[in-house]
């Protein structure tokens, strides 16, 4: 494996204010501590999808990390180095956890990482012992505080009882010293822990995401569980029986977790905390919103929204309440993951954790067209209002057909989104633009060279990298220009927007900055079509 270069060598980094960025400061990654935190997200890894996952050594570290989202919680202040392959314990002086226990634990966990590890029981080869399983890019495990398996992204929970037991042991071991395990870095694998009151969520990844990004993904997963059960139910159940098998209540909901995780691998929306809107003439969109307002004047109706192909067409809300993008993503996930809404009008409870994690809203869900593309959701707090809402839905549908609005939606879906060529900027290959106050984003269609799955994954990795570099709380940046072997990246964050642009490899800094200025003007021009500036209220 090629020697990893210190990234400061080949990644010129600049940081400056948005106004004077033409004359950037010299590269600033000189601080060794900061550079160290990036070693695990080496740019080389991102540009080479076939990067050999062979670990660079047998050193497992529980790294102290000074960069977290939640500052109110204690951090791991433990650093332990042990040779797992032989079970030897290192005698690093500042180590508190160098006991046999943790070494065994890491041994177990290392099974995830070392394909060559010998199987203890050759007779029973389960899926979890296969190379394929181990080499999965991103594992997600959920267990109860008692260590009972709740969910695994790959394989069968029952076969993972030991591994999950170890995970819960690790968490409680660190908890015993009034501390909290956040993540471990082992070779090129990251083990990220999200410890909530009743559940422990663990992600084991050797993908491009940073630990903070994985933590965000895990909190999405946690919220998805709340969305199915509510926090009150979760709390009540585990209060009554600490060792309850939560899988009983989650039967049928695994697909939501699976789907959510798959979406997060390819959709930038969750990373950005923003939703994508269906490009639509603003007049048509206003019409649709007004149609909903006029025909769904119902007490207790909190939100009404139309989704088409995972994109937001319109959202109408009660005056006092806002729909958090995280909740909106969960709604999109619900619609995206279930076929059953296509059969008939449905009436289902859904908890929106950011809105209220203690209770359910009732959702009337139905498709408005025969092709099942345009989905209307009416979310109410009244459990008995199905028939009233069903009537509203019929009226809305009738009007939307009359105004040709449904046709406008399906036309927009047919046209797909827009091509990068429409922006008229040569050498710009792709971009993400997020409007911060609207919590919405836009991006062009994926075109060559990002047509194959591996290339798309790589592009996604580039965005993960760029996003991480800009948002890392240890050293947040406003603007970042970085040249890689296959493309040049430019990220720019201001109060009102976030822009992540991918250029061809030979673009100079000046050219890139000119290009994004042009791009910003283009986005401004298209704003009415690509974004929903204000959500109408009832």
């Amino acid at each position: 494996m090629a020697e990893r270069k210190k990234e400061a060598d080949h990644l010129p980094t600049s940081e400056s204010d948005q106004d004077d960025f033409i004359e950037p400061d010299p590269p600033v990654v000189t601080n060794q501590a900061v550079a160290d935190t990036f070693v695990n997200i080496d740019y080389e890894d991102l540009v080479n999808p076939d990067y050999d996952s062979h670990p660079s050594g047998y050193i497992h570290e529980i790294v102290r990390q000074g960069s977290h989202d939640d500052d109110d919680e204690p951090r791991v202040a433990v650093s332990s180095v042990s040779d797992v392959s032989t079970g030897e314990e290192s005698s690093e002086d500042h180590t508190e956890i160098s006991t046999k226990e943790i070494s065994q634990a890491l041994d177990e966990v290392s099974k995830l990482q070392h394909p060559e590890v010998s199987l203890e029981d050759e007779e029973e080869i389960d899926e979890v012992d296969t190379q394929e399983w181990r080499q999965r890019k991103k594992h997600v495990f959920i267990l109860s505080q008692a260590g009972k398996p709740v969910y695994t992204r790959f394989g069968n929970e029952d076969k993972l009882v030991t591994v999950m037991g170890v995970m819960s042991a690790l968490v409680s071991f660190v908890q015993d010293s009034k501390d909290l395990v956040r993540f471990m870095v082992a070779g090129d694998h990251k083990f990220v822990f999200l410890v909530r009151e009743h559940l422990i969520l663990v992600c084991v990844s050797h993908g491009a995401e940073s630990s903070q990004q994985i933590l965000l993904h895990l909190s999405y997963v946690y919220n998805q569980i709340l969305s199915v059960l509510t926090f009150s139910t979760l709390h009540r159940i585990f209060k009554q029986r600490r060792n309850y098998d939560l899988r009983r209540l989650l039967t049928g909901a695994e697909k939501f977790l699976d789907n959510l995780l798959n979406m997060m691998d390819t959709e930038p929306g969750m990373l950005l905390g923003a939703v994508r809107c269906l490009p639509l003439d603003s007049q048509v969109r206003d019409n649709i919103a007004q149609t909903i307002v006029q025909n769904a004047k119902v007490k207790d109706l909190v939100f009404a929204l139309i989704l088409a192909n995972n994109q937001l067409v319109t959202l109408v809300r009660m005056k006092k309440y806002f729909l958090h993008p995280m909740d909106l993503h969960l709604i999109i996930n619900l619609v995206n993951a279930s076929e059953s809404f296509k059969a008939a009008e449905s009436w289902t409870p859904i908890c929106l954790p950011k809105f209220d994690s203690s209770g359910f809203l009732q959702a009337h869900i139905s498709y408005l067209d025969d092709r099942c593309e345009t989905c209307l959701l009416l979310l109410s707090v009244d459990r008995e209002s199905f028939f009233i809402l069903s009537e509203c839905r019929n009226k809305i549908k009738e009007r939307l057909v009359k105004y040709n609005a449904l046709k406008a939606i399906s036309d927009s879906l047919m046209k797909t989104s827009y091509s990068i060529q429409q922006c008229g900027i040569s050498d710009l290959r792709h971009f993400l633009y997020k409007s911060r106050h609207m919590a919405q984003f836009t991006s062009p269609e994926l075109e060559a060279p990002y047509l194959s799955e591996t290339e798309q994954e790589r592009l996604c990795g580039l965005y993960f990298y760029l996003h991480h570099r800009i948002h890392t709380s240890a050293r947040p940046l406003k603007i970042l220009y970085t040249v890689g072997p296959h493309e040049t990246l430019l990220g720019w964050v201001t109060q009102s927007f976030e822009l992540y642009a991918v250029f061809g490899p030979l673009v100079t800094k000046v050219a890139a900055i000119q290009a994004i200025n042009k791009l910003l003007r283009w986005v401004k021009r298209e704003e009415d079509r690509l974004f929903i500036p204000n959500h109408v209220t009832f």
Partner: protein
């Protein structure tokens, strides 16, 4: 011609084929791609019988445990309950007893019950005998039918399956219709 409206609730364990049976008699077809119901789906079905125009409002409920607490919302106002079990699964048949107990306890108005054994095309794997089902149905005063929402043998051709489910639903209607 008079018209009647009746509410029907479909209950049963997960995976027994509630939605498939409903789609079979509402839409007259079988879809392989039926996915687990989330919450409950609402169907309407219209028919004419003995000079009555009958409109059935069918609540097809989800069998998953987490939706169990929502069931009263649907059966409380129902005129009829279709209790569906999978005749290749004894457990799903025992679950019916829970449902019947719950209905008896919580529903004050008279409710017509119909026991439906689904998947009778798979008689090789049968775990619930016709005799058991018949006996149980008579003790709770329910109608009893066997059906297959799928048709994969000649004996259970589309028409026949349609007939069986229709018969079941027609009997509901007769009971509901005033004399």
């Amino acid at each position: 011609m008079k018209s009647i409206e009746a509410k029907v609730v479909v209950l049963g364990s997960q995976g027994v084929g509630k939605t498939s049976v409903v789609i079979r008699y509402v839409g007259g077809m079988f879809s392989k791609a039926v996915s687990p119901t989330i919450g409950a789906s609402f169907f309407t079905y219209k028919m004419t019988l003995n000079n009555y125009r009958i409109k059935l409002q069918v609540w097809d409920t989800a069998g998953q445990e987490r939706f169990r607490s929502m069931a009263p919302m649907y059966y409380r106002k129902a005129n009829a309950a279709m209790l569906i079990y999978d005749l290749t699964s004894a457990d799903s048949f025992y679950d019916i007893k829970d449902w019947v107990g719950e209905l008896k306890k919580n529903v004050d108005t008279p409710i017509v019950m119909c026991l439906v054994g689904n998947k009778c095309d798979m008689s090789d794997c049968r775990e619930v005998t016709s005799i058991d089902a018949e006996e149980y149905a008579s003790t709770i005063g329910a109608l009893n039918h066997e059906t297959s929402a799928l048709k994969n043998t000649e004996a259970y051709s589309v028409t026949r399956v349609l007939l069986v489910t229709r018969v079941a639903i027609t009997e509901f209607a007769i009971l509901l219709a005033p004399p």
